[in-house]
C-alpha cells in the first residue's frame, strides 16, 4: 500500500476521479429534508433549512490553513474533497493583491529548504517567487564577547541556499493564488466560528429530546459549526488552523501546556544602501538580534530583549533606534571577534568537521541600516503546546497545536510540516476508504508530528533556560551560533537538522 501511496503522491496527473463525491450525492441534512447541492458552488450557500455540508472545514485561512488547502488540492486522492475555509478576514475571498512597490511588511518568515520543497511540489512556491523574497546563501553568527563567530555557506552543505525570507503576506497570497488557480472546491466564509457540535458519540443523541424529524443518522458523521452570522455548516473533519489563541482548540476542549518568557521581540524593517544577501545574528547580553535579508534593499530586524528594554526601544525616535540597531550589529556591547587566523578557530579545531565549514572566511560587519522602512512591533515570547492534536472529527495544526514563538520564523515551518503530514494522512485514509474524521486515522498525524514538534520545543526551551539570553526567533542562526559557541557535536547536529527542516538528515554535517 505504501507503494501505491507513493505513486499516488507523485503521479498527480493520473486523475480519473469523478467530480461527484460526498457532497454532491444526496445528503440528508436535517432529518427528512433531502437536497442535492448544485455543482456550482454558491458563494454563500445559506438557505434556510439547508445546511451546507463539506468534507473538511479549515478554521483559519492563514498561511498554515491555506497550505493545507494547497496540499489537498495537489493530490489526486484529496483534490475532489469539498473544503470550507472559515476566516473573518474578508480579503481571503477576494484575494490579497500585492504590489512589488508596497513597503515591506515587518512580519516575515524564514522558510526552510524542506518547507520550500513541500510548497514547490504543491505548486505554490512559484507564486512566492513573483513577489519580494530573498534566498540567502550565507549567514554569520557571532556574539558580543568577541570570542567566536561562525560563517556558513550553502555550498558547504551542497545546497543552493540555506533558506528564504519572505513576507508573511507574500507567502499567504501565494498559497491563496495556488488554491484559487486549481480546480479545488473551496468555499470561503468570511466569518468567525462561534460554536461547534462535534457529535463524537453520534448515536447517543437519540437519548436527548430531539425533534422527531432530526434523526441521529442525520449528522452522526459530521460536526456542526455555527458561524458568527448565525448560519451553520457541517463538516466531516474540522481543522483548527486558527493560531495560538485557537477557538477550535478551546471549543474542542484540547488542553495546553505552556508559559511565557519574560522577553519581548521587536520586529521592524530597515533599508540599506544596497541589497543584503546574508543572514546575520549576534548574541547580545539581553538577547539575540537578527538581520534577515528581505529582498530589494530591505532587511528585517528581529531583536529579543527584556520587556522594559523593548518598551523603551519602541518609543525612542527612529534615528536613535537605528543607531541602537547599527551599534548592536557592530561593536556595541563588545568587540568584533578576532580574525580566524588568530586563535578562534584553534579553539574549535578539535571538531574536525567544523573546521572544514565555518570560520574559514573572515568576519564581516553587517551592512548598516540607513532608514526605517516600517513601524516597530513588539511581541512577547511564549511557548504553548496542545497536549493532543487530534480527537474525533477535530485536528489542530500550526500554532493552534504549538506556539513556539509569536513571530513566524521556525513556527511557520512546523505549521507547514503539520499541514503536509495531515494532507498525507487524509489521502491515505481516503485510499483505504476510511471516514476522514475518524480519530484512529487522525492519530496517525499526531503520531507523525508530535515528536518532531515536541523535540523542537524542548530544544528551544532548553536553550531558553540554559542560555537565558539566547532565545531568538531565528533558530537556524541560533543553532549555528551554538555551533560557533562550541556546543557538543551530536546536539548541534540535531539542532541544525531541525532548524533546516530536515528532521532526519543533518544537512550541515552530512558525514
Amino acid at each position: 500500500m505504501n507503494k501505491v501511496m507513493k505513486k499516488t503522491v507523485s503521479n498527480v496527473c493520473a486523475l480519473k476521479i469523478p467530480r461527484k463525491f460526498f457532497c454532491s450525492e444526496t445528503v440528508k441534512v436535517a432529518g427528512s429534508t433531502d437536497f442535492v447541492p448544485s455543482n456550482e458552488h454558491e458563494k454563500r450557500p445559506i438557505i434556510s433549512e439547508v445546511i451546507p455540508e463539506y468534507d473538511i472545514a479549515i478554521v483559519g485561512g492563514g498561511m498554515v490553513g491555506m497550505s493545507l488547502a494547497c496540499f489537498l488540492a495537489s493530490m489526486p486522492m484529496t483534490k475532489q474533497l469539498s473544503v470550507a475555509i472559515i476566516d473573518s478576514n474578508p480579503a481571503l475571498g477576494s484575494g490579497i493583491s500585492i504590489q512589488r512597490e508596497d513597503p515591506p511588511d515587518p512580519r516575515v518568515s524564514t522558510v526552510t529548504p524542506a518547507s520550500i520543497s513541500f510548497l514547490q511540489d504543491a505548486g505554490a512556491w512559484k507564486y512566492v517567487e513573483q513577489n519580494r523574497h530573498a534566498y540567502f546563501k550565507k549567514m554569520q553568527v557571532w556574539d558580543y564577547t568577541g570570542f567566536g563567530y561562525a560563517r556558513y555557506d550553502a555550498g558547504d552543505v551542497n545546497k543552493d541556499f540555506l533558506g528564504c525570507v519572505a513576507e508573511n503576506k507574500v507567502l499567504h497570497s501565494a498559497l491563496l493564488s495556488c488554491v484559487k488557480d486549481s480546480d479545488f472546491k473551496t468555499t470561503f466564509y468570511p466569518l468567525r466560528l462561534t460554536s461547534m457540535t462535534l457529535n463524537t458519540n453520534s448515536m447517543s443523541t437519540v437519548k436527548e429530546s430531539i425533534p422527531s424529524k432530526e434523526l441521529p443518522s442525520a449528522q452522526g458523521h459530521t460536526s456542526k459549526l455555527q458561524l458568527s452570522d448565525g448560519s451553520s455548516i457541517y463538516a466531516k473533519l474540522v481543522v483548527g488552523a486558527d493560531g495560538g489563541k485557537s477557538r477550535v482548540r478551546e471549543l474542542a476542549g484540547f488542553k495546553t501546556t505552556g508559559w511565557n518568557y519574560s522577553q519581548n521581540a521587536i520586529i521592524c524593517t530597515v533599508e540599506h544602501t544596497s541589497a543584503n544577501h546574508c543572514a546575520w545574528q549576534r548574541f547580545l547580553p539581553s538577547g539575540p538580534i537578527a538581520l534577515l535579508p528581505m529582498g530589494d534593499n530591505f532587511s528585517n530586524i528581529v531583536w529579543t530583549m527584556s520587556p522594559t528594554e523593548s518598551n523603551d526601544r519602541k518609543s525612542i525616535t527612529e534615528e536613535m533606534f537605528l543607531k541602537d540597531v547599527n551599534s548592536a550589529l557592530d561593536d556595541g556591547h563588545g568587540p568584533h571577534p578576532m580574525s580566524s587566523s588568530l586563535g578562534t578557530r584553534d579553539l574549535f579545531s578539535w571538531l574536525k568537521m567544523d573546521a572544514t565549514l565555518s570560520a574559514n572566511e573572515f568576519f564581516e560587519i553587517p551592512p548598516k541600516a540607513i532608514r526605517m522602512a516600517s513601524k516597530r512591533m513588539v511581541f512577547p515570547l511564549s511557548l504553548r503546546h496542545a497536549n493532543s492534536y487530534a480527537s474525533k472529527r477535530v485536528v489542530l495544526i500550526g500554532d493552534a497545536a504549538h506556539t513556539i514563538h509569536p513571530l513566524a520564523g521556525q513556527g511557520v515551518n512546523l505549521g507547514f510540516g503539520d499541514a503536509f503530514s495531515l494532507s498525507r494522512v487524509i489521502a491515505e485514509g481516503i485510499a483505504l476508504g476510511s471516514d476522514i474524521g475518524e480519530v484512529n486515522l487522525l492519530k496517525k498525524y499526531e503520531t507523525d508530528r508530535k515528536p518532531a514538534n515536541v523535540a523542537m520545543m524542548a530544544l528551544l526551551d532548553g536553550f531558553q533556560k540554559a542560555y537565558a539570553v539566547d532565545f531568538g526567533p531565528f533558530n537556524f542562526l541560533r543553532a549555528a551560533a551554538f555551533n560557533g559557541a562550541n556546543l557538543i557535536s551530536p546536539l548541534k547536529r540535531r539542532i541544525i537538522s531541525y532548524a533546516s527542516g530536515e528532521n532526519k538528515l543533518p544537512i550541515f554535517f552530512g558525514a
Binding site: 480519473k16 476521479i17 434523526l215 452522526g220 483505504l432 480519530v439 484512529n440
Partner: protein, 298 residues
C-alpha cells in the same frame, strides 16, 4: 500481549458470526430484549431511517452497541487496527484484477461486492467509500442492525445493503457479485469446502474471491489457542479448534476444487512496537488470499 488481544477480538468476531453468542462483553445484555422489535424488519429492504415501530429507547440501546463495534478503543480495537492492512491488500488486488485506477479516490466504482460475515460493517463501509456497491451479510441479526444503523450516518455508506442471511441462502436467491469477501470466517465454518463452493457460486465468472483466516501452524496454535484460551483465559476454552484451521495449501486446494484459482496471497504480521499490522510474505499465522473464478465451473 497485544497480539493475543487481537486474536481474542478476532475470535470474538467469529463467534458472533457463528451465532454462538456468549456474553463476552458488557454490552451484550443490551441485546436481551432488543431483538424482538427488530424482527419486524424485512431483510433486503434498505432502511434509510429506523422503522417506525422502533421506539427511541430501543434505538438508544442499539446505538450503544453500535458504538462499541465502532469504538476504536473498545473491544474491537484490534480489528480496527488490522482493518487498513486488510483493505490495502483488497484495494490493490481488486485494482489489479479489475484493471481499476489505483490513483482514484473511488477505485472500486462499478463493482458489486459481497461481504460475507460483515459483523458491524467494519469492512463493508470502507469498501463502499472506495466506490463499491456493497452487500453485507451476517447470520446474526443484531450485527446487521448495528451495521445498518452505523452506515446510515454517512451518505457515502448509507447505500450499503445489509441482510441477515447466509452465503448459501444468497446462492439460492441467485445473487451474483463481482467480488466476494469472507474475512476471518472460514475457520469457524463447519464445512469449509461447502462454504467455498457457496462463495464461488456467488462470484461471477472471472470475478474475485478474497478469504482471510488463521493458519494451522504451531505459532498460530501457541498464540490463538494455548495463550489466548488456556493461559490468559481471554477466550472460553474451545473457542477455536486448532484442527479446523486451514493451512494456506489446504485453502488453495479447496478453493481450486470450488473453481477458484488463488492468484495472490499475503500474510499479516503484527509489530508489537508500533502496534500496527503490515502485509508480508509471512503466512504462518494470519493470511489473506485472492483468487479468481475460472469460467468452466458450475
Amino acid at each position: 500481549m497485544k497480539l493475543f488481544n487481537h486474536l481474542r477480538t478476532l475470535n470474538t468476531h467469529h463467534r458472533i458470526l457463528r451465532n454462538r453468542f456468549h456474553p463476552l462483553f458488557n454490552n451484550t445484555n443490551f441485546f436481551s430484549d432488543a431483538s424482538s422489535p427488530q424482527q419486524s424488519t424485512t431483510p433486503h429492504v434498505q432502511q434509510p431511517s429506523p422503522p417506525s415501530s422502533l421506539n427511541r429507547n430501543e434505538l438508544a440501546k442499539f446505538a450503544a452497541i453500535a458504538e462499541s463495534w465502532w469504538d476504536f478503543d473498545g473491544p474491537f480495537k484490534p480489528l480496527h487496527v488490522m482493518n487498513p492492512t486488510r483493505l490495502a491488500f483488497i484495494r490493490s488486488a481488486l485494482c489489479r484484477h479489475f484493471k481499476k485506477d489505483p490513483y482514484s479516490a473511488k477505485p472500486l466504482e462499478g463493482l458489486k461486492i459481497a461481504d460475507v460475515g460483515c459483523g458491524g460493517g467494519i469492512l463493508s463501509e470502507p469498501l463502499a467509500r472506495m466506490g463499491a456497491t456493497v452487500t453485507g451479510i451476517d447470520a446474526v441479526e443484531k450485527n446487521i442492525n448495528i451495521a445498518r444503523l452505523h452506515a446510515e450516518s454517512d451518505p457515502a455508506t448509507s447505500t450499503i445493503e445489509f441482510c441477515c442471511t447466509t452465503a448459501e441462502k444468497l446462492v439460492e436467491e441467485g445473487r451474483r457479485f463481482d467480488a466476494v469477501m469472507a474475512l476471518e470466517v472460514i475457520e469457524h465454518v463447519a464445512e469449509p469446502a461447502e462454504f467455498c463452493k457457496s462463495l464461488a457460486a456467488l462470484t461471477i465468472p472471472d470475478g474475485a474471491t478474497i478469504i482471510s483466516t488463521i493458519n494451522r501452524s504451531m505459532r498460530a496454535y501457541a498464540t490463538a489457542i494455548v495463550a489466548a484460551e488456556y493461559i490468559l483465559r481471554w477466550l472460553p476454552m474451545g473457542t477455536h479448534e486448532w484442527s479446523s484451521f486451514l493451512t494456506p495449501e489446504e485453502l488453495v486446494l479447496i478453493l481450486q476444487r470450488a473453481g477458484i484459482n488463488v492468484e495472490e496471497m499475503a500474510g499479516f504480521t503484527y509489530n508489537p512496537v508500533t502496534g500496527r499490522w503490515s502485509l508480508s510474505d509471512d503466512i504462518s499465522v494470519n493470511f489473506i488470499a485472492m483468487g479468481t473464478k475460472t469460467n468452466n465451473t458450475e
